[in-house]
């Protein structure tokens, strides 16, 4: 999915997720990159919120990891790609984790399914014991 998309005009940005404030930094950087890619209005809020959810998951479930932000261009259409990556315990049952309300952390269980609804493309891969990678994209309307 990522490979199809021609990579960034302004390159890419890596935000390490190690502490609580990094979640805020990641969503602010994501919003800035989305502005550069020509997105606007509520799309900026959708992207920032989706980043917030996957970045928090990194902290809570994996301890640390990173968010990679990329500008995209495909068939003359621009967008942003967000990759959230960690090398934590991974997810055993992804369809279950993607269900609204499912949480092993006694929280709302809306982070992953919600982020999927907020973005245009959403892909999650995981190998137990090796970590999780979430790749999501939002295209300019």
């Amino acid at each position: 999915m990522v490979d199809e998309a021609r990579e960034g005009l302004e390159g890419e940005l890596l935000v390490p997720i190690e502490r609580d404030p990094d979640v805020v930094t990641a969503r602010q950087k994501g919003r800035e990159m989305a502005v550069e890619a020509g997105l606007s209005g509520s799309d900026l809020t959708l992207i920032a919120t989706a980043i917030s959810e996957v970045a928090r998951n990194i902290l809570v479930y994996a301890g640390h990891g990173e968010i990679i932000l990329r500008q995209l261009e495909r068939n003359g259409r621009r967008g942003v790609c967000v990759i959230a990556r960690d090398e934590g315990p991974g997810i055993q049952d992804i369809p279950l984790a993607m269900q609204d309300g499912y949480s092993t952390g006694r929280s709302l269980g809306l982070g992953l399914p919600g982020a999927k609804r907020l973005m245009d493309d959403f892909e999650i891969v995981s190998e137990v014991g090796k970590g999780v990678t979430v790749t999501m994209m939002k295209w300019r309307r």
Binding site: V24, R31, G41, T45, L46, S52, R56, D100, L110, A115
Partner: protein, 123 residues
């Protein structure tokens, strides 16, 4: 980022000034609940106008503030949810549950007055 909490007669007003970390949100919760007891407040207004993101953690924390404050005898009204934030919350699947909301501070204070009159004995 500490959220200033103002006391205006029997109401506490917390005006969030900038993006908050999860730790900041938990601090706000603890500060507000302590002050509700300290000042015997009947109402709490949380102004979220400056928040550009209300994700699942922020929503859950605001909900728990409102529920705990209610147990301490105070009503909570969230004011200033921005239109883009509201759209995003709906898509994410977030609900504020029984938490009251109003458009802005002025309407929030009005709503609190009405809620507390309704609660008053004989009212």
């Amino acid at each position: 980022m500490v959220v200033p909490i103002l006391k205006q007669s029997d109401v506490l007003i917390a005006s969030i000034q900038a993006a908050l970390t999860d730790a900041d949100l938990l601090q706000l919760r603890d500060d507000l609940l302590a002050k509700v007891g300290q000042y015997r407040s009947r109402g709490v207004v949380i102004d979220v106008t400056a928040l550009d993101v209300m994700d699942s953690f922020a929503t859950r924390t605001l909900r728990s503030i409102a529920e705990a404050a209610r147990l301490r005898g105070a009503r909570t009204v969230i004011v200033g949810i921005q239109p883009e934030v509201a759209i995003t919350m709906v898509q994410l699947g977030l609900v504020l549950g029984a938490v009251s909301t109003a458009l802005d501070l002025e309407e929030g204070l009005e709503l609190l007055g009405a809620l507390n009159r309704k609660d008053a004995p004989g009212g």
